[in-house]
Symmetry: C2
Subunit: 194 residues, 2 copies
C-alpha cells in the first residue's frame, strides 16, 4: 500500500470515522482492516496492547492509538495537504478544547440515550440536549467549527453524525427542530466533491 | 506582568501542577491567582464557562483550559526554550498517548483510593496498582518518559507526585517497594537546579 498505511477500524465507530475522514481529506491511501473490537484479535492486541481498542492507525509498521491523536499525527505527517488544525497556537488550543469536550462530555450521554433505560436514560437525554445546545452555540453562525475550514472539531463531531438518528429515535427528540444550525452544519460539507 | 500571563490554579491540583512545571521549565513569569474550584468566582466562570475548573492559563487576556492543552500551548508559544514535546510526529503521538492514558486511566482510581471506602476502594487500589505497573513498564530503564528529556509525559505524571503519599497511606501499599523505578524517576529531576 502507498506509504504503508493500515487502519484497524470497526464500521459503526464514531472514533474510527474521524480517522477515515482525516485520511480522505488528506488524500492518503490506506488498507482498511475491519476489526470487531469485541474480538481481541492478535493484531489488535499487538498494536494497541494498553486499550485493545479501535481505531488503530498503523504507519510504516508503527501504531498510533486514540482517534484525536491520530488526527494530530495525520495533520503533522501529511502537512502539505488540507490543514486539519489551525497554525495559530491559540486557535489550535481552542480546537483541541472543543474536540476534548466532545470526548469528555458529549460521548457518554450520547450512547446512554440508546444504551440505557429508565432514569439513567432520562438523565442522559437531559445532559445530551444541554451539550447539543453548547455545541450549537459554539458553532454560531460560522459555516464550520474551524471557521471557513472543515477542521479538527468538525471531524471530531462529524464522527457522531451517523448516530444522530439513533439518538433521536431512542431519546424521542428532533435534532433538526431543536438545533437547526447543527443539522445545516452536517449538510454543508460535501465529502468527495472536491 | 511579563507577557501578561496569569494562572488560575488551586494549590493541591495535580493538573495545575503540570502547568506550573511547564511554565517554570520555559522560564515564563506569570501572576498566580489562587482559585478554589469549589467557589465559582466570576473570573473562573468568565475564563472557563464550559467546565468552570482550574487550571486556567490566561495569556494576553485569552483563556486556555485543560492542563494538557495548556502544555501544548506553552510549548508552541515559548518554542525557543526547553522543548516539552518531541518534534518527531510519531514520538509526539506516543507522548500524547501516555499523557492521555494518565488522564483516562490513572486519575480515576488514584483519587478513589483515598476518596472512597469498602469495595470501591479495594477495586480502585487493584486498578491503581495495575496502572502503576503499566507506567513503570513504559518508563523501563529510560531516565525520563521523554527519554533523556523530562518532557510531556513526565510533566503529566509528575503532577500526581505530591499525591503519592496520600495514595500509599489510604491504599496501604508502598510505591517505593513495588515500583522502585518510578520512585527513582521522581527523584531524578532537580527542579530549579538548572
Amino acid at each position: 500500500m502507498a506509504d504503508e498505511v493500515i487502519l484497524l477500524d470497526f464500521w459503526p465507530s464514531m472514533f474510527g470515522m474521524r480517522t477515515k475522514i482525516a485520511l480522505a481529506e488528506k488524500g492518503v491511501e490506506y488498507e482498511y482492516k475491519e476489526t470487531d473490537p469485541w474480538v481481541k484479535t492478535p493484531l489488535l492486541i499487538e498494536m494497541n496492547p494498553i486499550h485493545k481498542k479501535i481505531p488503530v492507525l498503523i504507519h510504516k509498521g508503527k501504531p498510533i492509538c486514540e482517534s484525536l491523536i491520530q488526527l494530530e499525527y495525520i495533520d503533522e505527517v501529511w502537512s502539505d495537504a488540507y490543514p486539519i488544525l489551525p497554525s495559530d497556537p491559540y486557535q489550535k488550543a481552542q480546537a483541541r478544547f472543543w474536540a476534548d469536550f466532545i470526548d469528555k462530555k458529549f460521548y457518554d450521554p450520547s450512547w446512554k440515550v440508546w444504551g440505557t433505560k429508565g432514569e439513567a436514560q432520562v438523565a442522559a437525554k437531559k445532559e445530551l440536549l444541554e451539550h447539543f445546545k453548547t455545541l450549537e452555540t459554539e458553532l454560531g453562525d460560522k459555516p464550520y467549527y474551524g471557521g471557513e475550514i472543515f477542521g479538527f472539531v468538525d471531524i471530531a463531531l462529524m464522527g457522531f453524525y451517523s448516530w444522530f438518528k439513533t439518538m433521536e429515535k431512542f431519546g424521542e427528540f428532533s435534532i433538526e427542530s431543536e438545533f437547526p444550525k447543527l443539522i445545516q452544519w452536517t449538510k454543508r460539507k460535501k465529502f468527495g466533491a472536491e
